[in-house]
Amino acid sequence: MLVFLTKRLAFMVITMIVVSALLFVLLEIDVDGVATKVLGPYSSAEQRELWLERNGYRDPLGERYLRWLANAARGDFGDSIRFKTPVGEVLWPRLWNTAILGFWVFAVMIPLSLVLGVLAGMREGSLLDRSISITGIVTTSVPEFASAVFLSAIFVFWLKLFPGTSSMSDGFSFRELALPVMVLVLYDFGYVARMTRASMAEVMTTPYIRTAILKGLPYRTVILKHALRNALIAPFTVIMLQVNWLLSGVIVVEFFFAYKGFGALLLEASLNQDIFLIEACAMVAVFVAVATQTIADVGYTYLNPRIRFT
């Protein structure tokens, strides 16, 4: 297990280094472009040259990259061009906001989709299964930007239940959080529910479940004690992958509801070519991606003793 963990961690670090190198080359190879972005379009050539000198941009690319990497590892990504403050001051609060959003999405979505998935998978082909499956397909196939408009039309403009934007400008508010959470849950629960259903249905056809039923165990016990643990392995991975999806999936929702989170920040940073902020956001996104993958792999071995990595 220790070897496995070490391997996974090493793999994580290597992935991140490769991505960081790519990112750095893509964004910072054109040093004059960097200076223009930082100092603005009205800056003079002389101003730009001075800035480049002062900030070590005349050093070789490799040296610059290593310096950048060392700073990044300490969490120092430089100053945001658009916000005119250190990147961290903008990034961490925004990431925290997205974590809050993500937490509530998961808190609603996981129980909902697992219960629905298990119910549907228990008796394949039943009316309940059909209804849940079809609902899941429909909601999943509606993209977030469409359901955001749709839910806004109902809850903001018609019923006037929830506020139209979620910028939390007067502090945290559950009412403002409701619509973004709804949109994300609506999009995602169908997918997870269907994965759970498939997994559950498969488990239900295995001989050991048939045996358990035939030997006269109560149906409840069969489901809860025998079927569930095995049926939840596949959904577990899927759910871990949703963390990843959430980080990019929230862009649309955050943008639409003006929620001040990581997704909106990433979009804004790219639209404004705020390179240092883009670098930081990308590194965070990569970290989350590889970290969740690692956790999923580790969790997998724990849930399913048949899978052993060395």
């Binding site: 003079s44 658009r82 005119k84 403009f157 929830f162 139209g164 934007t165 509801f257 909106a264 804004e268």
Partner: protein, 562 residues
């Protein structure tokens, strides 16, 4: 911008200060004869240093219209205004390139003059001014007794500091184009003309111009000309970190991309303003978000509503719509130093193929006015009506053939999707150009990316904001070598004609001189300018006394919420 105190001040001053510019009596005579309109009279008289109250009274006496100075709004006062608007960085007002930036700073720092929604320029930090007969020497008398928020006394040193800073090219301020009559160029380097800014005493500043210029007072109310404290540069040149101002509000909190909060300051020199607090809330680039916020009562004002959103606002039961006729526009400008736009015939072909009226209808629902490719609007006082331009596809084809492209030409135009109508206008024009054998590819980019290349791309659609005078925008954008000359246009004949018109005081005479200016620019075909657009804002029905300014400058003295 009138509190009781100020208005009394105007009247008192009008009595004390009875030396109007020698042209004023003549102007009054012209008004009586009907040679100038009431509007032109008011504008010119106030520019020459007659107070707005006196000018309005004079106009009322002459043509028998009732005296209607902007009345102090009665009734509701106070409240907190929440406005949906981009909250952008706010470091240096002199380098602002977006009006939303200035709307936050406008509540903190102030201007020497102020132009109201009626296009009339009034005294503000400057109590009064005089122009010499040749309009080359301007004396500004600053109001005494104004205190900065840090306790310092406002005076001539502040104004001199700001002017010198604007006119220093290393500051990177667009004001250098606006005040080009105070700039000399030697060895290709621009600098302030020695002696152009002169401190007479602690509250008097004199400007000595290279050439006659009428629009000086109006130039002082361009959005990047806010007067900052004389210590601005040495304390880090960052208004958001060090918000010292003379204005009615102080900055309580400021987060780029999030929120700016301003609270009423005690001891403001004009006395009490209405709102207790102003909050600008950033809802990002998604325009539907702001409408959602208005619909659910999260905000009471949306900075700007676009023409395609009018129906949504009309459908909201609790919303009110504001409209202002403006000289805001978008120009498909061609960089005259880049191929193939260095050939005037190509540019003229593009111009000839466009039906301007039709573009106005297609892209802007006809809400505005037809433009004529010379960037002077019918609402500008010096506007001279040239013969109407007509779409002429055959002429366009002929011009193109003459330019060496008998089989048509392929071009690409950059446009940005910050304002949907600009993309729509480009699309409408592209269809018209197609008929003339000009195949134009549209490159739609996000606003921020467009503003990186707006003054570099060979062919681009650039939005221009309203300015009260046509000569103002021509000086900013078309005079040879100014920073915002995005088309790299340089025509000494045009510059000279513009100087000539800017130096002419007689309204009718100036109008005539504008004919030449407009004609040169139109014939040189630097821009294809389809339309002048109205601008819109939306507010809730809790919002009172809000007046839409054509530039969407937020003048909020009398606004109340509740």
């Amino acid at each position: 911008m009138s509190s009781k105190k100020t208005r009394f001040h105007f009247v008192r001053r009008a009595r004390a200060h009875d030396h109007p510019h020698p042209y004023v009596p003549e102007l009054a005579e012209e008004l009586r004869k009907g040679n100038v309109t009431r509007r032109e009279f008011l504008r010119t008289a106030t520019l020459l240093g007659v107070s707005a109250t006196t000018a309005y009274a004079l106009a009322g006496r002459i043509i028998g219209q009732p005296l209607i100075p902007q009345a102090r709004a009665a009734g509701m006062r106070g409240g907190t205004l929440k406005c949906s608007m981009r909250v952008q960085e706010m470091t240096d007002p002199s380098t602002f390139d977006w009006i939303p930036k200035s709307n936050v700073s406008r509540q903190i720092v102030e201007y020497l003059t102020i132009t109201g929604p009626d296009n009339i320029t009034r005294p503000y930090l400057a109590e009064r001014w005089e122009a010499s007969e040749d309009l080359k020497t301007w004396t500004f008398h600053l109001r005494k007794g104004i205190k900065w928020s840090n306790g310092d006394e406002f005076g001539a040193d502040d104004v001199v500091f700001n002017l010198e800073r604007w006119l220093d090219p290393s500051t990177g301020s667009s004001n250098i184009g606006l005040f080009s009559s105070m700039v000399t160029e030697s060895d290709g380097k621009k600098s302030m003309t020695p002696g152009a800014v002169e401190k007479i005493d602690a509250h008097t500043v004199r400007l000595n111009l290279n050439r006659a210029e009428l629009a000086i007072p109006e130039n002082f109310y361009n959005y990047p000309t806010a007067i900052v404290h004389r210590s601005f540069a040495e304390t880090g040149a960052n208004l958001s970190k060090n918000p010292i101002g003379t204005g009615p509000y102080e900055l309580v909190s400021f987060g780029v991309g999030e929120k700016a909060v301003l609270r009423k300051r005690q001891g403001y020199w004009r006395g009490d303003v209405s709102l207790d607090e102003i909050q600008y809330i950033d809802h990002g680039d998604e325009r539907a978000a702001a409408v959602g916020a208005l619909a659910s009562g999260q905000v009471d004002l949306i900075y700007e509503i676009y023409v395609d959103q009018l129906d949504v606002i009309a459908a909201l039961p609790n919303a009110q719509l504001f409209e202002a006729v403006t000289a805001q526009t978008g120009v498909a400008r061609m960089r005259v130093t880049e191929k193939p736009f260095d050939n005037k015939l190509v540019r003229q072909a593009l111009q000839a193929a466009v039906d301007h009226q039709r573009v106005l209808e297609l892209a802007y629902r006809g809400k505005g006015a037809v433009a004529e490719d010379h960037h002077v609007a019918p609402i500008h006082p010096e506007y001279f009506a040239l013969p109407r331009m007509k779409q002429d596809i055959d002429k366009a084809k002929a011009l193109l053939a003459e330019a060496g492209h008998p089989n048509g030409i392929q071009l690409s135009i950059d446009t940005n999707n910050d304002a949907r109508w600009e993309v729509d206008a480009v699309q409408a024009m592209v269809e018209m150009w197609k008929a003339a054998g000009i195949d134009v590819k549209i490159n739609v980019m996000p606003g921020s990316q467009y503003w990186e290349v707006w003054d570099k791309t060979p062919f681009g659609m650039t939005g221009w904001t309203h300015r009260p005078l046509g000569t103002m925008v021509l000086n900013l954008g078309y005079r040879s070598g100014v920073p915002w000359n995005e088309s790299n246009y340089s025509n000494p004949e045009f510059d000279a004609a513009l100087d000539d018109a800017g130096a002419t005081l007689e309204v009718a005479e100036r109008k005539k001189k504008m004919e030449k200016v407009e004609k040169i620019l139109q014939d040189d075909a630097v821009i294809v300018q389809p339309l002048w657009r109205s601008v819109f804002a939306a507010g809730s029905n809790r919002l009172h006394n809000f007046k839409m300014h054509p530039t969407i400058y937020h003048q909020l003295d009398d606004v109340a919420v509740g």
